[in-house]
Subunit: 152 residues, 2 copies
DNA sequence: ACTATTTAAGAGTAATATGTCTTAAATATA
DNA sequence: TATATTTAAGACATATTACTCTTAAATAGT
């Protein structure tokens, strides 16, 4: 898998949050229910996003998490890097150290281009872009889709 | 990581084998030494490639493995599928079941295209292509490169 | 026939990723 | 202040991947 499960869960949660464009806090319990993700596991993942300042959190009743800024200002790339780290955009497809150095691997030419394409795609796509598409075209971010876009 | 370590090891080994265009058997011990891969682990991986009929093996002294056909006839895609399975070319980037069905995920449009590009690249690149490039441009398939292309 | 060499097969171990549970700290509300 | 609710943090458990070790089977050479 290109992205870890943690990363996928992080994307699902931030996409759903992005569709709640009310600026209020949403409890992780609520997110985990809607997205069918283990509450404690999702909590850990969102903590990483909070540490990366992509989310803001508040404890206590009425607490929860919310996007730290406009959903149009947060890119998929930022979410991916916050969880899986930046290396996936620089690593050799054959796992060799120092990809792109003076002595690359035979697959470097083809891979580096594709890898940059992926990074570019994620870089130029905001949470708003994806959540809007999800809403407008009634797309899925869970297996069975028993959540509703834009309804906190 | 896009490819598992097993898959990467399989690619390294088949690329090196492809540069030995003599049709003889090369012992796995020799490959594991040259490629800095655990002998027993590499053996298991190459067994998968033998089962998939990409390699032929022979036991006993003078035994070993060799490509089952011309290196120009074996694609990187075949090696990848034999080890990591075909799913990486059909899976949803968000891990949802049934990618591409009537209700895809918001990232489907961007991902499906990139995923197909990757498959196409691997499909249209043969072991010969890569090993030739490796030889001609003195490229790496190990961390320190203390192997020599084309020298069994 | 015997021995050395090599792949085949499977059990066992270690490392990492994924998921669960418990306790602590913060905060809103009564 | 007291209580309920919620995130934070870390220990713990399970699953998957990566790797190791042992034994069996086949084959070439003596
Ligand atoms: S060196 Fe292998 S992909 Fe860059
Ligand atoms: S449904 Fe998600 S990538 Fe196809």
């Amino acid at each position: 898998m290109l992205l870890s499960k943690s990363c996928v869960y992080g994307l699902r949660a931030t996409l759903l949050l992005a569709s709640y464009q009310n600026g209020g806090y949403t409890s992780i319990k609520d997110l985990s229910n809607k997205l069918d993700i283990s509450f404690h596991f999702l909590t850990k993942i969102l903590q990483q996003l909070t540490a990366a300042e992509l989310l803001e959190s508040m404890k206590g009743p009425k607490g929860g998490v919310r996007l730290s800024g406009e959903s149009s200002d947060i890119t998929l790339r930022e979410v991916v890097i916050a969880i899986d780290g930046p290396d996936i955009f620089t690593e050799c497809v054959l796992g060799l150290p120092g990809c792109g150095s003076e002595k690359p691997c035979p697959m470097h030419a083809m891979w580096a281009e594709t890898r940059d394409d992926i990074e570019q795609m994620l870089q130029t796509t905001s949470l708003e872009d994806m959540s809007k598409e999800g809403m407008e075209q009634d797309l899925r971010i869970t297996a069975d889709g028993h959540f509703v876009w834009g309804e906190p």
